[in-house]
Amino acid sequence: MNIVVCLKQVPDTQDIKWTDKGTMIRDGVESIINPYDEFALEYALYIKDKYPDTQITVLSMGPMQAQELLKSAIAKGADNAILACDKKFAGADTYATSLTLAHVIKKFIPDFDLILCGQFAIDGDTAQTPSSLAGHLDIDQVTFVKKIIDFNSEGLILQKETEDAYIDMRINYPCVVSVLQTDIIPRKYSIKGYIDAENFNVTVVNSVDIDIDESLIGFKGSPTYVSRSFHPEFERNSTDLTGTNAEIVNDLVKLIREQKTEGKE
């Protein structure tokens, strides 16, 4: 089997601190692998556990530093790593990003069976890239996958989660599967894996390498653009509840009871 796992480098949003004016303090914010992508990688490794001749290629688009996150995936057991890195890729929206990834895959991993992605990235949170990637490659997809139930050399049986149900589905390769956070715990890398990965050569590709027209990538190739950004204002006038804990709790319960019955006929 031949699996591609898409990984995104994101700022650790748990770490983000804001100034009084509401701007982000970027200093000291660590970059991590998007947590949802960790689950995608774990599933690829889980398939490789059963079929050891499986080839896993981890793929990312981003700055040169993103090589580090690709190496951490190599340390865990991925076989190949490709970084799409080019100043011309910058400013891409989900359409241009997924089109770029599709070109990299067509050029360098044309005989893939399965593409695994995290459903969301914690920074952008659009959840659009996996479906859009499947669209550009014109292959089948199952999104919002909660678990991989079974798999063989033909395809997979997956459980998808929607608002009101869990749906078991079968899908054949080639396909895109995007995963939610699941019950499996992504493995840690071994010391040997880490040492091996240190010297691993990540394949870095640019726009020329993937034969993509400049008008289709980055900001230029993005059909959407940000026209304005602003800090949201939704402040309310607040009243402090103070005193001993017993007094606070008294006020709180009284408040909740009053508000609860307000407006009831």
Partner: protein
């Protein structure tokens, strides 16, 4: 010139209410015709059509094929594209439900157009373009996004816009379109459909929500909060941080990647107040925030502030409400 809304059905045959919210919102910012695409199997659509009419639809394209009885990415994509090609709308809006979010990027990539996800505000700018606003980049900012191509596509989560006022006498023009599909359209097959229990899917309807964030610290405290919620006739909810810590399922998550809620009372316990979270609860009538950090951003949106230690306040509160 038209704005088109996609109307999808739930598995039980009822309409996803976000479609009505989108039609109503569109009425407020768009002056031309509001169309609806309704993909269905060969069923009686009278009741659904009248809901769409009463929300304000001007024209409804009912796309029929028995393969559309339940959602399938490829069948729905083909059906919707067929209508879009015919009516060529300026703007195309889709509800950000699990199926809507699965489908929208497929349609956008097939048409080669952009798609703005999870908008919290829609309007028309001075150039007559759709201005779609959403929280972005780590939640620090709101961004207003424009599209260079048409249709200008956007998705919106359920409950972001208000339930419409019904326009009882509004009638829409109906057009029925029968689509044909090739025999082998995809390899995806549904094997088993397991409905979720009602209990886990109802924070959006609760009058009182007691929501916990990372500051709740322990599972014992979270349990105590659930007990308090139960005694007071409310429900317990959580921030994304707590879901990520494995305390609870994302079914009760409030915020940009969870649910949007508008309860009468929202008690935020140990929630710092990232914008993604606030986006999901800012519509609550009364917001009470409890946090040990007096500078926590959640306090900015709170009607009532309590700076205090949940380890002490929760047992006291549980004790108090249990005595009633």
């Amino acid at each position: 010139m038209s704005l088109t809304v996609l109307a999808l059905l739930n598995r039980n045959g009822s309409l996803e209410s976000v479609a009505l919210e989108l039609i109503d919102k569109a009425k407020k910012f768009y002056n031309n015709e509001i169309n609806v695409i309704l993909p269905v199997a060969d069923i009686d659509t009278t009741a659904i059509v009248s809901q769409l009419e009463q929300a304000g639809a001007d024209k409804i394209y009912v796309v029929k094929n028995k393969k559309l009885a339940k959602y399938s990415t490829n069948h729905y994509k083909m059906a919707v594209l067929e209508v879009l090609e015919k009516i060529n709308p300026d703007i195309f809006l889709i509800g950000a439900t699990a199926n809507g979010r699965d489908l929208a990027p497929r349609i956008a990539s097939a048409l080669g157009v952009g798609l703005t996800a999870d908008c919290t505000e829609l309007s028309i700018n001075e150039d007559g373009k759709l201005a779609a606003t959403r929280p972005t980049f780590g939640g620090s900012l709101m961004a207003t996004i424009l599209s260079k191509k048409t249709p200008q596509m956007a998705t919106v989560r359920p409950n972001v816009f208000k339930r419409p006022q019904m326009i009882l006498d509004n009638k829409a023009i109906l057009e029925e379109i029968t689509v044909d599909f090739p025999k082998h359209i995809d390899t995806v097959e549904e094997l088993n459909y397991i409905p979720k229990t009602l209990q886990t899917s109802s924070i959006a309807d609760a009058d009182i929500l007691f929501a916990a964030g990372r500051g709740i610290k322990t599972k014992e405290n979270f349990k105590m909060l659930s007990d308090i919620a139960q005694v007071m006739g409310g429900k317990v909810a959580a921030s994304r941080a707590l879901v990520d810590m494995g305390f609870c399922s994302n079914q009760i998550q409030v915020g940009q990647t969870g649910k949007t809620v508008t309860p009468k009372i929202y008690v935020a316990c140990g929630i710092s107040g990232a914008i993604q979270h606030i986006e999901g609860m800012k519509g609550a009538q009364t917001i009470i925030a409890i946090n040990s950090d007096k500078d926590a951003p959640i306090f900015k949106v709170a009607d009532y502030k309590i700076v205090g230690d949940l380890d002490e306040i929760l047992p006291e509160l549980l004790h108090k409400v249990k005595r009633f």
